[in-house]
């Protein structure tokens, strides 16, 4: 959808005109009270559920939406009941206006000139999409990780437009360690000789080496030590044994990380990676309240469900509990599930019966119109 009106950004800059890619699932009911907005995390898109068909009407391989375990007919967020909206954020690389597209002011590809966008900016843009769809109030806004931050930001920016917020594996801000991981990833990209200060499109190259390393680091932090050991342990790729090589792949974990890095570098935009990790770094609703999250969340009137996973060390349960505490301090309705899953941060995308059960129950008992 095209938005001709400029969007003022938190930085003071603005985006003159922009497009947002979105998908919807299910039917908006007559009084428009069953809309659920899904916010995506770092590398996801508006394609949250379902599959794509090819020209012959066959299901395209690996075209499932990124939260297809959670959203769809008869799933925990039941699209037979709810009108679900997936939207690709500004600055991303899956169809919404981002650094790969042409800057209408210069006629050139944005590249590094794409303005820095924040979680709040994304929420402002999402609100305009809802306006355009004629939806005043969301039955729920929902997201995991960075998507959870957007859900939280919704309850602060548009408290009267959100009945429920479902915040999964998220945090009220990033810790120093978390920012550090983002910075390593960014340095990997920026120091790639093919990066060209972010204007690599002009040179007809892509900083794939940097993107690969960024993704490898990310992947390590999304898994738990236990799961990595269980999946790969010290398995060697070559059954004949070690090769006494410092540069060849020896261990299966190396092979896995390289594969993930290669795959990611094929489809993800380097400038988008920088922009989105920065949005993560900057998010801190308590910042303007002297670090007092309880005061920050006093504006939120939505009812909350928070979910965290015990082995998630990137967005640890303690961070979700901070949000719970701040909501309790404001006497808000909140439920909190701490799922004892082994998969680390990735657990929020996986199918765990307890996790799915809690979300399903919440939507049925509380969110359902």
């Amino acid at each position: 959808m095209h938005f001709p009106e400029a969007l003022p950004l938190q930085s003071g800059a603005s985006i003159r005109a922009y497009d947002l890619s979105y998908e919807t699932y299910g039917q908006l009911n007559a009084d428009k009270s069953n809309a659920v907005l899904i916010c995506h995390a770092l590398n996801a898109s508006h394609h949250v559920a379902g599959v794509y068909l090819d020209d012959a009407g066959q299901v395209k391989a690996k075209s499932e939406g990124w939260w297809d375990t959670m959203i769809g007919p008869a799933k925990p967020v039941d699209t037979n009941q709810f009108f679900v909206i997936g939207v690709n954020n500004l600055g991303s690389c899956f169809g919404s206006t981002g650094p790969m597209q042409t800057n209408p002011d210069t006629g050139e590809v944005y590249g590094a000139d794409f303005p820095v966008v924040t979680v709040q900016d994304w929420v402002s843009a999402q609100a305009r999409l809802l306006d355009a769809l004629g939806i005043q109030t969301l039955a729920a806004v929902m997201g995991g990780s960075l998507g959870g931050m957007q859900a939280l930001a919704w309850t602060l920016q548009y408290p009267d437009r959100v009945r429920h917020a479902v915040v999964v594996a998220s945090a009220p801000n990033l810790t120093a360690e978390n920012i550090a991981f983002n910075e390593v990833a960014r340095r990997a990209i920026v120091t790639d000789p093919d990066f060209h200060g972010g204007h690599f499109y002009r040179h007809g190259v892509l900083p794939k080496r940097g993107l690969r390393i960024a993704r490898m680091i990310g992947h390590i932090t999304y898994l738990s030590d236990d799961v990595m050991n269980e999946k790969f342990g010290r398995q060697l790729r070559d059954s004949a044994g070690i090769k006494f090589s410092t540069q060849d792949v020896e261990f299966q974990i190396e092979s896995y990380l390289r594969y993930q890095g290669d795959k990611f570098a094929e489809y993800f935009d380097a400038n988008t990676y920088l922009l989105i990790t920065r949005a993560l770094d900057y998010f801190d609703p308590a910042g303007e309240f002297g670090g007092d999250l309880s005061r920050a969340l006093a504006q939120a009137t939505a009812k909350f469900l928070l979910v965290s996973f015990t082995t998630d060390w990137r967005f640890a349960p303690a961070r979700s509990r901070e949000i719970v505490k701040a909501l309790l301090d404001n006497q808000r309705d909140v439920s909190y599930a701490e799922i004892d899953a082994p998969h680390g941060h990735d657990a929020f995308l996986l199918d765990d019966a307890r996790y799915m059960g809690v979300v399903r129950s919440y939507f049925q008992s509380k969110v359902a119109p």
Partner: protein, 201 residues
Amino acid sequence: MTVLSNVSQPSPDLLSIARLVPRGARVLDLGCGTGELLAHLIKERGCSGYGVELNDANVQACVARGVNVLQLNLEEGLTVFGDHTFDVVLQIDTLQHLRNAEVMLRETARVGRIGIVAFPNFGHWPNRLAVLRGRMPVTKVLPYQWYDTPNIRVGTLQDFEALAVKNRLQVLDRFGLQDGREIRFMPNARASRAVFKVQRA
């Protein structure tokens, strides 16, 4: 944590306890099980509040009932709750599972204006009789064998009274429950369940 009853109609014991909670009170239910009591208090007595529960299935049952529930381990304390933030803190059949039972009692008094504590009364005469006969009791309220019981604390009404005094808690009310009836005459011997209503002295 166990609950007094899993049937949809709250048991007479649970209703007796519910009557101790003032109408409209803000309630924190520690070890709230499937949220049965909390749901009853919200619906019938206009209360509001939260349950705390550790068990996954119970947490989901609470959410399914529409009751606010927080999946937290009571052994880690009540740090997410501010001082005096609740009118009533309930500990119904929770105390006997807690390693830090005394700390939790103090926390209950810190967080709530009133604490209501219920637990199996080991002083009930059939229990005494069983021990006199040389065996640990197995009853409706204490249905486990000594080697597989989840109840790591067993105590009597008098024991709890002493613990309350030690922690400078004032006992506002105390009675026993037996087959859904309140026992006020010699409850320590005549009731299988003990109920206390306490506040900071």
